[in-house]
């Protein structure tokens, strides 16, 4: 949020001759931002670059197009969970049930595609049932938080135990359920043809351009100052480079050649959820409730309703993530939803810069954090380190990211920003 702050006076659009000054101002402002601790995502991006460079030297098969695709598919499920975590954290709540809730979704999707059973449905229906079920469970948990007033930590801790228990009970008898439905498996195993990849990159870039242009025109029409025109251009170039760069690398891969569908799904949810959070009244109300619930209530916002919907989003995103994780393995077994999935999802959101205390954070922070976690764990894995090392390094990165964020915030407070 704070990265949007600037000093342009309201209602005054910049005349042409001030553009040059604006350009110099951008540098000064960037320096100001660094000095006052308004760092945004800069440290994370630098950190990620260092991680990539480090592992490129450490492991021979890390810096390859194949592994690039691999990381995208590995992180897709985790990123979906982390998207949901961002919304819950924005409220200042926590959802500990999402790990095993994603397991429930995996179980449901596997169960409802089971060939030869009485409840074999088409892949899309099975996915809808799984995600819907998780949204419903999230809604029930959210209702207990919102209407009864039980702390979300306790409600979702109970959820964690309950859903783990359900998974154990069902899979103890069945062992493993294999997913044979192609549509479901394709979620994590389909790769676009080279040309399709380019078209997707062009489409995403084009849509971003249209969206940005629409915003600029709207501001012009309302005679509202357009802040940092250079930053808008820079952002657009960044998006274009990221899109086309990703497709270029993915198309360069040899074994699973092309852009992975899972990556496209992540981008679709990133755009959709960012729109929800930043451009709709609902999203605004989520930030308001997280910032000052009493103020939100007095402003006529139905705080309980917001809470319930946010927990439904969290559940649904856990469901989406669970389906993708199951699709990647083509099966569901006793370990589903367990391990470090829950903590990785929360870490991803926090590493990306979302506050644990509510009201501060962005949907994209989930993607950035998940990228860091997936890259580190993939890099350590390819370099031949053991699981223990992966946990230790992830823990240290989490600590570093949050410490840096806390120090930055203190600097911001001190400089009155």
């Amino acid at each position: 949020m704070s990265s949007e702050v600037d000093v342009a006076a309201p209602g005054i659009s910049l005349p042409e001759e001030q553009e040059a000054e604006e350009e110099r101002g951008l540098w000064r402002r960037a320096l100001d931002n660094v000095r006052t601790g308004n760092l945004g995502i800069l440290p994370i991006v630098i950190g990620l670059a260092l991680i990539v460079v480090f592992f490129s030297f450490k492991a021979t098969n890390f810096f390859t197009a194949d592994n690039f695709n691999n990381i995208i598919v590995q992180m897709a499920g985790l990123t979906m969970l982390a998207f949901g975590v961002v919304f819950v954290l924005l409220l200042g709540e926590i959802d500990l049930s999402i790990g095993y809730l994603s397991g429930i979704a995996a179980l449901a999707v596997a169960e409802f595609q089971l060939p030869g059973s009485s409840h074999e449905y088409p892949g899309l229906v099975a996915i809808a049932i799984a995600v819907g079920l998780c949204a419903l469970i999230g809604g029930v948990q959210g209702s207990v938080v919102a209407f009864v007033g039980v702390p979300s930590f306790v409600v979702t801790l109970a959820g964690l135990l309950i859903w783990q228990g359900v998974i154990l009970q069902v899979l103890e008898i069945k062992g493993v359920i294999v997913i044979q439905n192609n549509l479901i498996n394709n979620l994590a195993n389909y790769y676009f043809k080279a040309n399709a990849g380019w078209i997707i990159a062009a489409a995403v870039t084009g849509l971003y351009a249209i969206g940005t242009l629409g915003g600029v025109i709207g501001k012009r029409r309302a005679r509202v100052a357009i802040r940092r025109p250079l930053l808008i251009v820079a952002k657009f170039l960044g998006v274009a480079v990221a899109c086309f760069g990703t497709v270029a690398i993915s198309n360069h891969a040899s074994v699973p050649k092309g852009l992975p569908l899972a990556g496209v799904l992540v981008v679709i949810f990133l755009v959709g959820l960012t729109f929800l959070a930043k451009r709709t009244p609902f999203g605004r109300h989520v930030y308001a409730v997280g910032g000052n619930a009493e103020a939100a209530r007095r402003a006529g916002i139905n705080v309980a309703r917001i809470r319930v919907i946010v927990f439904m989003i969290s559940g649904a995103m856990a469901g989406v993530g669970g389906v993708i994780l199951a699709a990647r393995l083509n099966s569901v077994d006793l370990n589903v939803g367990g391990g470090t999935l829950l903590l990785d999802a929360i870490s991803a959101a926090v590493i990306g810069g979302t506050s644990l205390f509510g009201g501060r954070g962005e949907v994209r922070s989930a993607l950035i954090g998940a990228l860091v976690i997936a890259t580190v764990s993939n890099g350590l894995d390819t370099a031949g380190y053991k699981t223990g090392t992966i946990y230790i390094v992830t823990g240290v990165i989490l600590l570093l990211a949050v410490t840096l964020d806390t120090i930055a915030r203190r600097l911001q407070v001190r400089s009155g920003r």
Binding site: M1, G218, R279, G291
Partner: protein, 261 residues
């Protein structure tokens, strides 16, 4: 000043269990006037405004708005009449910027549920300009970065931008320094100049005597007097606050001037 009061309470009573918070209170405020509401702690000031704002129900009495009897059952009813309250703790979200706070809960959106940010930003800038709030550099800066006086200004602007007719300010200067207090009092005066009715609750008689047109004193849940600012002194008001007898204006005994420090 218009003849019919904008808001008139007659014989308003409210009890919480066995505690009589308000007993048979009469109160009136006209458009374009600043009515100060003063009284000691527990005199019933907050209860009175909460009844008007629809946060508490009232047990007995009548509320007239523009001469018409009205029933206020909730904050929404009050807002519909054009009554806005600026609470002592301001009810602003620190993490949101000025525009976002001004429109909180009443965001403008288009058919795609998209927020109309430029329109809201423009209107906010206009509202602040019409109130001559010039100290806020950018309407896009988060409220967390504003000073106490600026926050109070935002809270007041938020209350008046909905074509409200009556603005109730609960202790607007309690947490402010001298310069900031001046800022806010100027703002309060401008509200009345624009024809709004203003109810100002304050402990600070100095502030009250600076801006108020009339002063209503509450004591132990009863109204003990309405004073024209021009025709009274701080001593008289202090006496009413500490020792007033509920006999409606007349009959305040001349006693102990040392109370009036």
């Amino acid at each position: 000043m218009s003849e019919t009061p904008l808001l008139q309470l007659s014989g308003l009573s409210k009890s919480f269990g066995s505690v009589h918070a308000l007993t048979d209170v009469d109160f009136a405020v006209h458009g374009g006037e600043i009515m100060a509401l003063v009284g000691d702690n527990g005199a019933g000031k907050s209860t009175l405004i909460k009844c008007v704002a629809g946060i508490h129900g009232y047990d007995d009495g009548e509320i007239y708005f523009n001469g018409e009897p009205v029933h206020i059952h909730g904050p929404k009813d009050a807002a519909k009449l054009g009554i806005e309250v600026v609470y002592q703790d301001l009810a602003l979200c620190d993490n949101l910027d000025v525009v976002q706070n001004m429109y909180l809960g009443r965001e403008r959106r288009d058919w795609l549920f998209r927020l109309k940010e430029p329109a809201m930003e423009q209107r906010t800038a206009e509202t602040l300009k019409s109130l001559a709030v010039t100290t806020i550099k950018s309407v896009r800066q988060p409220v967390a970065s504003l000073s106490g006086g600026q926050r109070q200004s935002v809270a007041v602007a938020k209350a008046v931008q909905w074509n409200s007719k009556l603005v109730i300010l609960d202790e607007p200067t309690a947490a402010l320094g001298v310069a900031q207090t001046r800022q806010v009092l100027e703002l309060v005066k401008r509200l009345a100049d624009q024809g709004l009715a203003v109810v100002l609750i304050s402990h600070n008689l100095h502030d009250v005597f600076e801006v108020a047109t009339r002063i209503t004193v509450l004591r132990l849940g009863r109204d003990v007097g309405v004073y024209e600012r021009e025709q009274t002194t701080q001593q008289q008001v202090v006496q009413a606050i500490t020792a007033g007898i509920p006999t409606k204006v007349a009959g305040i005994p001349e006693t102990t001037p040392e109370l009036a420090s």
